[in-house]
Symmetry: C2
Subunit: 338 residues, 2 copies
């Protein structure tokens, strides 16, 4: 199934989540105890292998095909003066991606990952959410379906990212609608807005929350009214990855806000995801804590594009390489503990 | 010069430090401001490139040759029952390294780094430092010189690591001698010692501090009396790297303690080093703070072998790839800020 044609089908997919394989994770722990190292001494690398095994459903996880999907969208709320960059930059950056000139191109290459960029109707920005829902129902479902359909079932690990001038405003609005506190709690400087711009951003978020308050108890309607197409696509891709048994690396604030509605629909909905980093964007640390996601890196990055998600791929490769390549105490004739 | 034949020559090398190239770092900052990303949005990746440039003395740093040097030594203090593993494991693990079966083999391979293991007189452990200086002057200088001589001048980035049953006891003793607080402040569980073993470890450290108290104001004599050959070699390699213009990635607690004496001899002596991670070993966070080193990762690792140093190499590769491979705003015809 590649298309969600109505909300009921989407809701059903959000509730009907595939379980991970506890036996695969347990097999990882068993093998780890035999490898030539003190128990637990590879720390989080050991946890990462168990996590990959659980969600791939393989006792020996692999990272043969690592994909980076970057979704791009344009936002009507930019009319409120929430970004120092003009919305034309979204399209220009998509061109930059296709010519190999952006950060994500370089990082994906180092990671040995395949990058695909999916622009979503860039010539027709979403509605300004201070005045109307960002998307109508059909438009939202189309964007979710595009994200769902973009995931290759043969993928071993999926990195998700986004590009969209104005989209930290959408992300902050979603976070505020889900977790409370209003614009001032969640708005940050995005690509680098000044004080006056930050004040406009907070006002825009609060106006959006006010306008769409009737939907505040429905996570999917929140995503439709306050989000954007690239956020909806990330949500769809995350659902697809769960169904296909693909672990997901989440990137920054926008990416995290995009999938946050899923946790309101089903506990453990983000079990197959790992947060690559905590961004310098103001609301991200708070959002990660609210979702119980523990970031891998804390590098003060705030670029988006899936840059941090792709950046951590080699750490996972190293974790898997240790698991599959290390000798056991018996194989190496190394004495175990006294 | 590959040999330190007397303490005066070693002291002179420790004091006579090559400066980094501020103009190369500045050239990096200039270029970063033109690349297609919001200013500063790659966070610490940008700092890492400037750091590499400064210490390589190249405005466009490169990582063509990345070396991992793992020094191995045996410790007389193991007679005090400070480790759950027998000292035979040091030699066995060196064999495991040479057969490709250890964690560092896998991680170095993922990092595209060349691994070299240097065993130091494993059949003749150092003296038990509770009873005598771990090394005499000639033995200490020989180990420092071995480390110095092991560094290839053509290397672009050097990862340092160690293997030595008992060496977290030596590391804690050095840290205590330099920064105070005694064994209870610095001793951790190493490879996983139990409560009784930890008590023995603290007693051994305190006995060593007491025995060699007369040398407490001389950082090199501290390293000689309480350290080990692999720690001395790491110190020597770090001096060589500074002289050759090679940035260094430090690994965990033992590696950090090994170079700590240098900062007591000259401010900024560790400028060309970066701490790969903060270890789960109890004293490491404290020692990193005392030295002003900000770790890249916090993964709860505590293996040594240079494992965390090699692990972060791909992060630096990504940083350099962004710097050299990204398009500028002008090249990509992307609009800059309004």
């Amino acid at each position: 199934m590649d298309e969600f044609t109505d909300f009921d089908a989407l809701r059903a997919a959000c509730l009907n989540l595939r379980e991970g394989s506890d036996s695969s994770a347990e097999a990882v722990r068993q093998r780890q105890s035999m490898l030539t190292k003190p128990p637990g001494s590879l720390g989080r690398l050991e946890d990462l292998v168990a996590w990959l095994a659980k969600w791939q459903g393989r006792p020996m996880p692999r990272l043969d095909q690592v994909d980076v999907l970057v979704f791009a969208g344009n936002h009507g709320v930019t009319r409120q003066g929430v970004s120092p960059y003009p919305p034309t930059v979204t399209t220009q950056m998509v061109a930059n991606f296709s010519h190999g000139g952006a950060a994500i191109n370089q990082i994906a290459s180092v990671a040995g990952a395949h990058l695909r960029v999916v622009p979503l109707d860039l010539d027709t920005p979403t509605q300004d959410f201070t005045e109307a829902p960002a998307m109508d129902e059909a438009g939202f479902l189309r964007a979710v379906s595009t994200g769902y359909g973009a995931v290759s079932s043969g993928c071993d690990l999926l990195c998700l990212g986004e590009m969209g001038i104005g989209n930290t405003t959408s992300a902050a609005a979603i976070a505020a609608a889900l977790f409370g506190g209003g614009g001032s709690r969640w708005a940050g400087r995005g690509t680098g807005i000044d004080d006056a711009g930050l004040a406009r951003k907070i006002r825009a978020i609060d106006a959006g929350l006010d306008r769409h308050a009737a939907w505040a108890n429905d996570p999917l309607l929140i995503a439709m009214a306050l989000g954007g197409r690239e956020l909806a696509a990330i949500l769809g891709a995350t659902i697809a990855a769960r169904q296909f048994g693909i672990p997901v690396l989440l990137d920054g604030f926008v990416c995290t806000a995009a999938v946050a509605p899923l946790t309101r629909l089903a506990t453990g909905a983000l079990g197959h995801t790992m947060l690559a980093h905590v961004s310098a964007e103001a609301g991200h640390r708070l959002l990660a804590e609210a979702l119980g996601l523990k970031p891998l890196l804390d590098f003060g990055m705030r670029l988006g594009e899936g840059s941090a998600a792709a950046l951590v791929v080699p750490l996972l490769r190293a974790a898997v390489a240790c698991h599959t390549g290390m000798a056991t105490f018996a194989e190496a004739a190394v004495d175990n503990r006294d």
